[in-house]
């Protein structure tokens, strides 16, 4: 299940959907909105998505994870629109029989989502200026 959501993520409900009686391992990852980025204080943040393609690409990534790793379930939800400091921008959850596959698939999904899903981050700074965060910066990002 891949989803773009303009509402705050309900992590408790998302996690609950991953519970399967044969699952012994659950790995999850969240990207949280920080109060700073690249050394600048961040005042406000918004994500914009090319939704039609983003949905397809997100679903493709989850399917790839299911093919590559021995997992039971995987899901990812990414926020769009305006976010507050501390909000979850993205959530990835993977249930598996064993922890190796759960960790590996969780890492694969977040890496691929960040690299491939057409979503853009716009930051507004306390000084009033704002900018689209360039993927060139991403090597040092979360």
């Amino acid at each position: 299940m891949f989803q773009l959501s303009d509402q705050p993520l309900d992590i408790t409900a998302l996690r609950r959907q991953m519970q399967h009686p044969q699952a012994g391992a659950f790995a999850s990852f969240e990207g949280w909105v920080r109060n700073h980025n690249e050394g600048r204080a961040v005042f406000r943040l918004a994500y914009e998505a090319y939704a039609e393609l983003g949905q397809k690409e997100g679903e493709a990534i989850l399917e790839e994870a299911r093919q590559r790793f021995d997992i039971i379930d995987a899901a990812c939800v990414h926020r769009v629109g305006a976010l507050e400091i501390g909000d979850s921008a993205v959530w990835v959850g993977v249930a598996a029989a064993h922890r190796d596959a759960a960790f590996a698939a969780c890492r694969y999904i977040i890496d691929e989502v960040k690299a491939r899903v057409p979503i853009w981050k716009n930051e507004t700074y306390p000084e009033g200026d704002s900018g689209w965060i360039n993927a060139e910066y991403r090597a040092t990002e979360d």
Binding site: G31, Y47, E48, A49, Y50, E52, L53, K56, E57, H78, A89, V90, I110, V113, K114, A115, R116, V117, P118, I119, W120, K121, N122, W132, I133, N134, A135, E136, Y137, R138, E141, D142
Partner: protein, 81 residues
């Protein structure tokens, strides 16, 4: 020969073009040629090498053929997560 294309713009490209979408008639055969035309028209600063392109909501190579009525989206470097 000109073809009619539906353009959608996101993020930095939308800011530079000043709109979210438009329909243009242009004498172009590929996304590569299309972006060169848009660069000239709008003074776009993103290098073509930094972009990917989607036609009708599918990623395609920059030199794939364009057809009458295609929807074209140039994808600036993404930054989700």
């Amino acid at each position: 020969m000109s073809i009619s294309l539906k353009l959608r713009y996101f993020a930095a490209l939308r800011d530079q073009v000043g709109r979210e979408e438009e329909i243009l008639e242009l004498p172009v055969n590929t996304p590569e040629e299309l972006y060169a035309a848009l660069q000239q028209r709008y003074g776009l600063t993103l290098e073509p090498a930094s972009l990917r392109v989607a036609v009708n909501d599918c990623f395609v190579p920059m030199d794939s053929p364009l057809a009458q009525g295609d929807q074209v989206v140039f994808i600036p470097p993404v930054a989700g997560g």
